[in-house]
């Protein structure tokens, strides 16, 4: 936990109050016995069991001692005992908790089982049990409370250790030959410190309460020593005569207990979820419209003009991971957005689909999705308008399905919500759509849960969910990144078929330019939140922007010369908060010069090709684009004379597009569906 996080915990009002209280209590614990220790012991035979007087504001006890002073002085003993018990609990808990990691598999399991058994045993009962063993008195009570809390703390340590022990860096250390004890000390404990600190703080509050309870029952502190619990017990006998005598120690216990617990909670808040504070959106920047003007298209499904997505920066101000993107997608078109992680490609898609995170601020000169301008409308309205017109396919279909709902019902829900269809009709449509995306045995599959689907099948089901209504725009965000090549091919082909059949526009977002090249007609290359080049797939070999060219050259394919080093791009992409002035790629670009300090706009370099570069390249790239039949993908040779089996077509070069009947959109769809 960094210093900033501690500070953040204290800046939170609850945390600040709790910390303030603890400071006051700590000062009292140190100072009170020194100042009033003797006065609190002083018996006053003239004032036995008095109520509130001017001399004794909270009255006196049976021996005539001042109760207010006694409560103040008892702070040290009460807190001290509670902290000691907490310390015992933490030490015993940590020892028990890391033992399974240090011991072998079998002994470790035994320890875990023992701890689990102890956790199941009620804590208070355990404390009473220990109190009997260790004898009645402060020492017994401290040991009892400490040891009674140890099992649950040990369990906490165990779960956390188990989580960290599964991480790669622990495995790496083990492979490197790091010993068990060092592993615990260097890798495990430091990385579970945060939850332990939080829980120890909360535990201190609980221990304080438990101690007060034991003392109150007479099992804790014995006379002549006294703590809050004992004072409470003594005061309670006369609660109808002098309520203050019982209330004062009671209040002290509650306040101290709350202070510990609240501090723990506020640390937990800071450590756990980084609190997202909504900030007022930035003042409108001067429009960069001239830089990114989307061409007005009559049949556009998506028009984004100067789309910007801002997030509040930690140091104040705003950063824009998407910074003036212009994008037009026509009906029935397949557009690929390519870029590295952090290029803003996914965020662009999320912003377009109105799914950007809550803390994001989306602006645009113009944003129209399926004929709807969603910006400035209420969420519910946008959902109503876009719910059936835009379909999203995410990278990890496991997390985009509800794991506890059958796939069929999840699909059916879409139509039930948006079209208010009956359950039976909706389910029938879900089965039909699963069949469309070629999920085998769709009736049976619809009744299965997402985890019973393989990755590829889950992605098909996700696409089927998008097809439950008739989408005009399908946004697929890295839909095949988690899949194997063979399955990737199937899913891409499916997307292609779906697109051909429904006439929907498809936006495919991928880091893999080869994948985009296979499916799309047009490629949009993004770098550092901006579009740097836009070109038809056929012109990838004539890419003009140095970044596009570098991307193309750096990916090895099955024809790459193995004796030459791969092309690389020096440096790393800029942080959106710290984007260089002018062309963002200039610091990594071999052609950069003074001109690049001014931000280049997208300018036409060829028909349908635009690049944001002052020095667009003109010579063709050496890509395997025009490889002749007989190259590495010549089906005939590799499958021999017996192969290739149907449905492939023999003797056809791969650049001549041949559609097999099953995948021909003009043919009867049933053939593919029954497969």
């Amino acid at each position: 936990m960094g210093r900033d996080q501690w500070r953040a915990a204290l800046r939170n009002p609850v945390g600040a109050v709790a910390a303030g209280l603890l400071v006051v209590l700590a000062i009292l614990a140190v100072v009170a016995p020194i100042l009033w220790g003797d006065a609190a012991e002083e018996t006053d035979p003239a004032a036995l069991s008095q109520g509130s007087t001017s001399e004794h504001p909270l009255g006196t006890d049976a021996l005539g001692r001042d109760i207010m002073l006694r409560v103040l002085v008892a702070t040290r003993y009460s807190l001290g005992l509670a902290l000691l018990a907490t310390a015992i609990c933490v030490v015993a808990g940590v020892l028990l908790g890391v033992l399974p990691a240090v011991l072998g598999r079998r002994a470790g399991r035994l320890v875990t089982a023992a701890v689990n058994l102890a956790v199941a045993f009620p804590g208070l009962l355990l404390a009473l049990f220990f109190a009997v063993i260790f004898g009645v008195g402060a020492r017994g009570a401290v040991l009892a409370i400490g040891l009674a809390g140890a099992p649950s703390f040990a369990r906490l340590v165990q779960t956390n250790v188990a989580a960290v022990a599964g991480r790669d860096y622990v495995a790496a250390a083990r492979v490197a030959g790091v010993g068990r004890f060092r592993l615990v000390a260097r890798h495990l404990l430091p990385n579970i410190g945060e939850p332990l600190v939080v829980n120890a703080t909360v535990m201190a509050g609980t221990a304080l309460l438990a101690f007060a309870g034991l003392s109150f029952l007479g099992l804790g502190v014995q006379p002549p020593a006294y703590d809050w619990g004992r004072l409470l017990g003594e005061g309670l006998d006369r609660i109808y005569i002098n309520p203050a005598a019982a209330l004062a120690p009671g209040v002290a216990v509650v306040v101290a207990g709350l202070a510990f617990t609240l501090l723990g909670e506020s640390i937990a808040q800071v450590v756990g979820v980084r609190a997202v504070r909504r900030r007022r959106p930035p003042a409108a920047d001067e429009p960069a419209a001239a830089l990114a003007r989307a061409a007005a298209e009559p049949d556009a499904v998506l028009v984004a003009d100067d789309l910007r997505v801002g997030f509040p920066a930690p140091g104040g101000g705003w950063t824009h991971p998407v910074d003036g993107v212009g994008l037009t997608v026509r009906r029935g078109e397949t557009v690929g957005i390519v870029g590295e992680s952090g290029s803003g490609k996914s965020l662009t898609a999320l912003a377009v689909a109105q799914l950007a995170p809550d803390s994001a601020h989306v602006t645009a000169q113009r944003l129209e999705v399926a004929g709807v301008a969603p910006l400035g409308r209420a969420d519910a309205e946008v959902r109503e308008l876009l719910g059936t017109k835009v379909a999203m396919v995410f990278q990890d279909p496991m997390t985009s399905f509800n794991p506890s709902m059958r796939v069929g019902r999840q699909l059916a829900e879409v139509t039930r919500v948006h079209e208010r269809q009956g359950r039976r009709a909706a389910l029938a449509r879900a089965v039909d759509r699963l069949r469309t995306v070629r999920v085998p045995a769709p009736e049976r599959r619809a009744h299965q849960y997402p985890h019973e689907f393989s990755g590829g099948m889950r992605q098909r089901a996700m696409i089927a969910m998008g097809l439950m209504s008739t989408p005009e725009l399908i946004i697929a965000d890295e839909p095949t990144t988690a899949l194997d090549v063979t399955v990737q091919r199937q899913v891409l082909r499916l997307l292609e078929d779906v697109q051909a059949e429904t006439g929907a526009a498809v936006v495919l977002i991928s880091h893999d330019i080869a994948v985009v090249g296979q499916l799309c007609e047009r490629v949009v290359v993004m770098y550092a939140g901006r579009v740097v080049e836009e070109l038809p797939v056929g012109r990838l070999g004539a890419a003009a922007h140095p970044y596009t060219r570098a991307l193309l050259a750096s990916v090895p394919d099955l024809a790459t010369d193995r004796d030459r080093p791969l092309a690389t791009i020096p440096g790393r992409p800029p942080d959106p908060a710290d984007r260089p002035e002018g062309c963002a790629f200039a610091p990594r670009c071999e052609f950069a010069d003074d001109a690049c300090r001014v931000r280049p706009g997208l300018a036409a370099v060829a028909p349908d090709q635009r690049a944001a570069c002052w020095h667009p390249r003109t010579q063709p790239l050496d890509l395997a684009l025009d490889a002749v039949p007989g190259g590495s993908c010549d089906t005939d040779r590799r499958w021999g004379a017996e192969g290739p089996p149907e449905p492939s077509v023999q003797g056809v070069g791969r650049l001549e597009r041949v559609r097999d009947p099953l995948h021909d959109p003009t043919s009867d769809r049933g053939a593919g569906g029954q497969a």
Binding site: G177, R493, V515, L558, T568, P645
Partner: protein
Amino acid sequence: MRELSFEGTTVRFGTGRSALTAVDGVDLTVPAGSVVGLVGESGSGKSTLAKAAVGLVPTTGGEIRLDGAPLRTSRDRRKLQLVFQDPHASLDPRMTIGESIAEALPGRRRRAARTAEVARLLELVGLDPARARSLPSGLSGGQRQRVALARALAAEPEVVLADEITSALDVSVQGSVLNLVRDLQRQLGLTMLFISHNLSVVRYVSDVIAVMYLGRIVEAGPADAVLSAPRHPYTRTLLDAAPAFGVALDDPVPADDPRLDAEAPSPHDPPPGCRFHRRCPIGPLTRPERTICAETDPQPGAADRPHRAACHFATDLMEVPAP
């Protein structure tokens, strides 16, 4: 550098009905000073094989040997070093990269010697030795993967196992890490097992390519031979599916045949006979006369076939003249 060999290595997880044989009798040799690329889809057992070698996963059968001597103790296993897939997860976020590397250095050394060695290793992987004191959070993915490589080399290994080391990286960074792997391999004569699901990446660094499917090696041979004349239909399917420029999706490949299973079978319940037969474009689903595929396991005779292919029809293909 010495030779690593797997002999009938088997890894089984769980018991009873939930039992799963992740690695099933794998025979594979990584000759001294060469790079063997291991390809296969996720769930094929390739990572498990590497973890078994370094002792992160216990084996249930077979032997793993280094120059013929079986690896038994953790001290033996330290001569194998594994580089993990995700460099964001494989470095302790609370240790400086210098400490992480120093931790892997064998034996006791003086502080100065340790610092000097860490600096040398950082330089070897192309990082500024002054970075030794920075935390992993200050490094990019590519830089972290370099640190992970340096840590593996710090242990003075006989064999380096690289498990999908570029799949968590951006493409522009992937290139530089692959270049580094090749340079290091040539410079130090490393023996390497390079695991990846990406054939193009494996092809770029490997001398020998082994293809794994459902826990078994189904084909292994010199990289060029395996790629230009694959003997196992699964290898062909992988090659056909690899995205490449200028290849349209609608150019059909044999594996697109709708009669075939689209999914890999469950490893809990592998099909009888050849494990690939339900997805095989030249198997019984397209050629009904080939009943042998569904009945007889092709693994036993694999050693005698070209590329040790686990396919009953591996030799048939060899007799087919190139057009």
